[in-house]
Symmetry: C2
Subunit: 146 residues, 2 copies
DNA sequence: ATCATATAATTGATATATCAATTATATTTA
DNA sequence: TAAATATAATTGATATATCAATTATATGAT
């Protein structure tokens, strides 16, 4: 079987780019906010726009499973960025609220994220971004529909 | 600050596509080989082509850090896919050898991986793959050189 | 050769990933 | 309505991710 090594495939290139972006973004966040990961930051951003999200819904948005999300929110509650309260309309799901401490983070975070996105996409045209999205979507669809 | 949500960015699309590929690939591997992850499979493929790789070098190829690689190889040794032996030329690094059990896996793995790659890239032209690589490389470079 | 520095691998601590099983509550169906 | 089924979240077990500190060995400079 004549198989090229994983390092020579497009998947390697995809992994590499997203991992470098994450490393870069995390570094810039850590410089300004201590003890805050990208994923935790994203949870805050999502909850800020959509306060009624359940843990399960947040999990999907940040590509985690329910178990990971339970534990992730546990630590964010411990660190006092979030508060869990009961949801009387559906007692299976919690209401997740952002605390004042969490809101403070939300004042600092957006400019950093804006910088991360902007500088990592420097020199890339709108057209290229569209191409990128189109092709990656084909891969995604192939993997989910096959 | 007017920041679009993470789910609306190209980074979300990149994450999504690579995660779906991994899920798809893992599922197809698990159907044929029990107790074998994609990453462990890649370690076997790399070692098969380049038997002199150190743990550190393997780690870089599969985007792990040294600590993760130590533990990953621990479990692969436990499962008898690999064997650690001393490297007399440089006693800081091990020689990692593939066992007979590991070699058996290497007979089963390539056709599965070939199928994974082929079907996930179905309908995507060579030209599109080149575009994809070029654009992703720009992102990677922006993140590492900034 | 000696000492300072660099490198490969390990370990500890904590967080996250993943799967399967479980609990509590809602919803659907007979 | 009662029973079956579905859903949200949790928990346990194990693997992996990440950072900092440590150990053992190599390499370089004086």
């Amino acid at each position: 079987m004549n198989l090229s090594l994983p390092s020579e495939t497009i998947f390697h290139v995809i992994e590499s780019s997203i991992k470098e972006y994450r490393k870069f973004a995390q570094k810039n966040i850590s410089e300004k906010i201590k003890d805050m990961t990208i994923d935790q930051g994203m949870v805050l951003l999502f909850l800020n726009e959509h306060p009624d999200l359940s843990q399960k819904e947040i999990a999907e948005l940040v590509f985690k499973d329910n178990a990971s999300m339970t534990r992730m929110i546990n630590t964010m509650v411990q660190k006092k960025h979030l508060k869990r309260s009961m949801n009387p309309k559906d007692r299976r799901r919690y209401k997740i609220e952002i605390t004042n401490k969490g809101k403070k983070v939300l004042e600092t975070l957006p400019p950093i994220i804006h910088y991360n996105r902007k500088s990592s996409l420097k020199g890339i045209t709108k057209n290229e971004l569209n191409q990128l999205e189109t092709i990656l979507d084909k891969i995604r669809t192939n993997c989910t529909k096959t």
